[in-house]
């Protein structure tokens, strides 16, 4: 066993850390981390940040050098996430472009598609969203109804997408459509298109979330146009593209685990500072014991992630056990933020400017409910683990 970093990895960390110190938005490191409220300004601010990452060579470190990446190793990706979490870096507005669309195009895209899109993904000039879920296709993505009909060299796309993150600021959409129906083989007949968001047939409406934020959109498509050359992979074979795309998601969970670790540390600080009847919360045995229980779970999850990562490094691809990590980090985030709220006592429900401490706890708590739903619900994750890791029989109907 070896938990050390190589000299090369240390050098990488230092280089990134120095770059961040010199390039983060003004005042960021000192704690001035407010993002603009206004959508236009918000979008501009984050696009500027992405541009800066690109210019520093830090936009997509895992991509091959020839496409503007750094050919980063898995460990370098881990270091990257650690450093970004440490400084609470601004969100990556083109997350979907960098981590999903780009790698997929590099893998199976046409030369034309690579030429046309990759650079603009890196610079943030074109922000991407993904059109997966629909009102009646959530966990069961094969139930999508958005149709793409062939019209000469073009395709006409009609339907409704929902939970499209960054949809309101996106220029392009990586969209899942149905091009033919096969009741016996529902995975067949799905086609992925690269679609322009800025066209007459596309309308986006923000969804107001339970935490008051508007990170997602509904996207209405009415005869939106795409060309033959906008198809990713082959017609009717989109499911394969999805599988390939999921395999590119190499270290994203790592970032979430490092954030969780950070939240845990801040929860400990909260119990040291927050006073009830004049006494810091940490003086209560039941609070300490619960915290210790969280410590073990956070620690255990991170260690388990490292064990899975070791398997990935050794075999070149993640094993099915990796599906455990997403389930664990999302559920644990939910429980930890609920705990952080609960210990604030009756004041825990106070929000925004009335929050007794930093309102981040209330925000975290509310936002955590999205984590066990988005990107595969906990129930879907449990099915995957049960079937792929333990070999239990599949549900009826799947």
């Amino acid at each position: 066993m070896d938990f050390s970093f190589t000299k090369k990895e240390e050098k990488f960390r230092k280089e990134l850390r120095t770059w961040l110190e010199n390039n983060l938005p003004e005042g960021w490191l000192k704690g001035k981390r407010d993002l603009p409220e206004d959508l236009e300004e918000y979008s501009r601010f984050l696009r500027d940040w992405q541009r800066q990452l690109y210019e520093g060579g830090w936009a997509a470190i895992a991509w091959p050098k020839k496409y503007g990446g750094r050919d980063a190793t898995l460990m370098e990706e881990i270091i990257y996430h650690q450093e970004m979490v440490k400084v609470k870096a601004p969100p990556l507005i083109n997350y979907i472009g960098i981590h999903m669309v780009g790698p997929t195009l590099i893998d199976i895209g046409t030369e034309e598609q690579k030429e046309k899109y990759l650079k603009k993904i890196l610079t943030g000039e074109e922000v991407w969203c993904q059109g997966y879920s629909e009102p009646n296709a959530g966990s069961d993505l094969t139930a999508i109804k958005t149709r793409a009909l062939k019209d000469g060299e073009n395709w006409k796309i009609t339907g409704q997408k929902v939970w499209t993150s960054f949809g309101h600021v996106a220029d392009k959409c990586f969209i899942l459509t149905r091009t033919s129906t096969h009741p016996e083989k529902k995975h067949r007949g799905i086609t992925v298109f690269l679609v322009d968001m800025d066209q007459p047939g596309v309308e986006t409406l923000p969804i107001v979330q339970m935490d008051g934020r508007k990170d997602f959109n509904e996207v209405y498509l009415t005869d939106a146009t795409a060309h033959d050359s906008d198809i990713v992979g082959e017609v009717d074979n989109g499911w394969r593209v999805l599988i390939a795309l999921m395999l590119h998601e190499r270290t994203g969970i790592g970032a979430e685990l490092f954030s969780l670790e950070q939240q845990f540390n801040e929860t400990v600080e909260l119990t040291q500072q927050y006073k009830i009847n004049g006494q810091p919360l940490i003086k209560k045995p039941e609070i300490r014991q619960k915290l210790a229980s969280f410590y073990a779970r956070v620690r255990g999850s991170l260690l388990n992630y490292y064990r899975n990562l070791t398997t990935t490094i050794k075999n070149g691809h993640p094993g099915p056990e990796s599906s455990i990590d997403k389930l664990v980090v999302s559920e644990l985030t939910k429980e930890l933020s609920a705990f952080a709220l609960e210990i604030q006592g009756h004041q825990g429900v106070l929000w925004k400017e009335s929050a007794p401490q930093d309102t981040k706890w209330q925000n975290l708590f509310l936002a955590s409910f999205g984590q066990t739903i988005g990107g595969g619900t906990s129930e879907v994750q449990r099915n995957t683990i049960g079937e792929r890791v333990l070999g239990l029989p599949k549900d009826m109907g799947r």
């Binding site: 066993m1 070896d2 938990f3 050390s4 970093f5 240390e10 960390r13 460990m75 650690q82 670790e261 845990f264 540390n265 400990v268 600080e269 119990t271 040291q272 940490i282 003086k283 045995p285 300490r288 014991q289 915290l291 210790a292 229980s293 410590y295 073990a296 779970r297 956070v298 620690r299 255990g300 999850s301 991170l302 260690l303 388990n304 490292y306 064990r307 990562l309 070791t310 398997t311 490094i313 050794k314 056990e321 455990i324 389930l327 664990v328 129930e379 449990r382 099915n383 683990i385 049960g386 890791v389 333990l390 070999g391 239990l392 029989p393 599949k394 549900d395 009826m396």
Partner: protein, 393 residues
């Protein structure tokens, strides 16, 4: 970074597993219920032949001088088949303590014979109606000319009939708390009043030992006089790291039992493992198992380092394994339905062993307090969740 056991360690696991399967897995535990320790003794000899008993013994005493991690496969496999006996107590508590605190004479007397499998050491710490704390230790060792006399009663002493020697925590100063305890080694040949106790984990035998004016010589004291509590805590780190591996092995058996049963048991015309109520339950057991395993690997690695989270992660590994094993063993019975409630199926053996260890030498709350304490949460600027990888600050 590399967070995995080595190929050699995994290969060694294979040998142990094959050997234990040859002994019939849980058959040995069941024979102990019927008071037939013959096969357990044979098994112990085989473990010695394979070198298991010599793994962490220094070369000068005939050992292999390997690391705590090299014991992990053996601990897990013993847990998998619920093997009773004193392997853990000997290899993971007595050996590290004697290595670190023993006199030359004590090392010579014990370590070589432990390496060959000739000696097993049990421990007598807990007392009736007391808890596991310095105040809970009231057996008293009083000075007299040329030595001491010991009086008092110890309860839940594991495998009294298999032990060659007992490691005993006693009170040497009445008025002090922690700084009034000492450790002594007593050979079973000495006159001891041993009484069998009935535990519901019938496969792990426990006894009560009473001491009445028992004479103890100077040379039987292990480590510094009056510093026994601190000394014992250091030994407990080794024991708890080992115990977490043993429990992980046992938990793995339980998860396998539940999984395999859910695949073959049919109700309503289909295997019950198809129902999410069953499937998700088993998945949660599996997830907890893997997290407990990761903690236990790290605990056994960190044990021999000076990492800042050494104690906190070992305590975490310990209470995670005990708690999650109980949960898994309980669900396993429920998943088996009616047959899970019978004596015939192994389910109950695992649940009983899980409870045997839950409060043994410290409850979950005790170890949670230890985590808080070792991370300095009650002090200003406590260290909280120290980064796992040493260079990250």
């Amino acid at each position: 970074m590399d967070f995995s056991l080595t190929e050699e360690q995994e290969m060694f696991r294979g040998h142990i597993r094959k050997m234990l399967d040859g002994f019939g897995g849980t058959k040995i535990a069941r024979e102990m219920i019927d008071h037939q320790p013959e096969n357990l003794k044979k098994l112990y000899n085989t473990l010695a032949e394979l070198g298991c008993t010599a793994i962490n013994i220094p070369e000068e005493y005939g050992g292999l001088d390997l690391e705590a991690l090299d014991l992990v496969p053996t601990f897990e496999e013993l847990g998998r088949s619920l093997i009773p006996g004193l392997f853990l107590e000997t290899a993971a508590l007595a050996v590290p303590l004697i290595k670190k605190y023993g006199t030359k004479t004590q090392k010579e007397k014990y370590l070589s014979k432990i390496a060959t499998g000739e000696k097993s050491i049990s421990l007598a710490v807990l007392e009736p109606f007391h808890d596991f704390s310095p105040q809970g230790i009231q057996c008293s060792l009083e000075s007299k000319e040329n030595g001491y006399v010991l009086n008092g009663t110890k309860t839940l002493v594991p495998e009294g009939e298999l032990a060659d020697t007992f490691l005993i925590l006693v009170r040497t100063k009445l008025e002090e708390q922690e700084d009034g305890l000492s450790l002594v080694l007593i050979d079973a040949a000495d006159e001891l009043t041993i009484e069998k106790q009935a535990s519901f984990d019938e496969a792990k035998h426990v006894v009560q030992i009473s001491f009445n004016q028992l004479e103890i010589k100077e040379g039987q004291v292990l480590g510094e006089l009056n510093k026994g509590w601190g000394t014992f805590q250091e030994g407990l780190l080794y024991f708890n790291a080992a115990l977490s591996s043993y429990l992980v092995g046992a938990m793995e058996s339980v998860v396998n039992m539940a999984t395999e049963y859910a695949k073959i048991r049919e109700q309503f015309g289909q295997p019950i493992g198809r129902f999410q109520a069953i499937k998700h339950n088993i998945v949660d057991m599996k997830v907890n198992l893997e997290i407990a395993r990761s903690l236990s690997y790290y605990a056994n690695w960190v044990l021999e380092t000076e990492e800042a989270d050494r104690e906190a992660t070992i305590y975490s590994a310990r209470f995670t394994a005990t708690e999650k094993f109980i949960e898994a063993a309980s669900h396993n019975i429920q998943i088996h339905g009616g047959i899970g409630f019978t004596e015939e199926i192994d389910c109950h053996l695992y649940l009983k062993r899980a409870h045997y260890y839950q409060q043994y030498l410290g409850s979950t709350a005790y170890y949670q307090e230890q985590v808080a304490d070792s991370l300095g949460w009650l002090q200003e600027g406590g260290k909280a969740c120290k980064k796992l990888m040493s260079h990250v600050n």
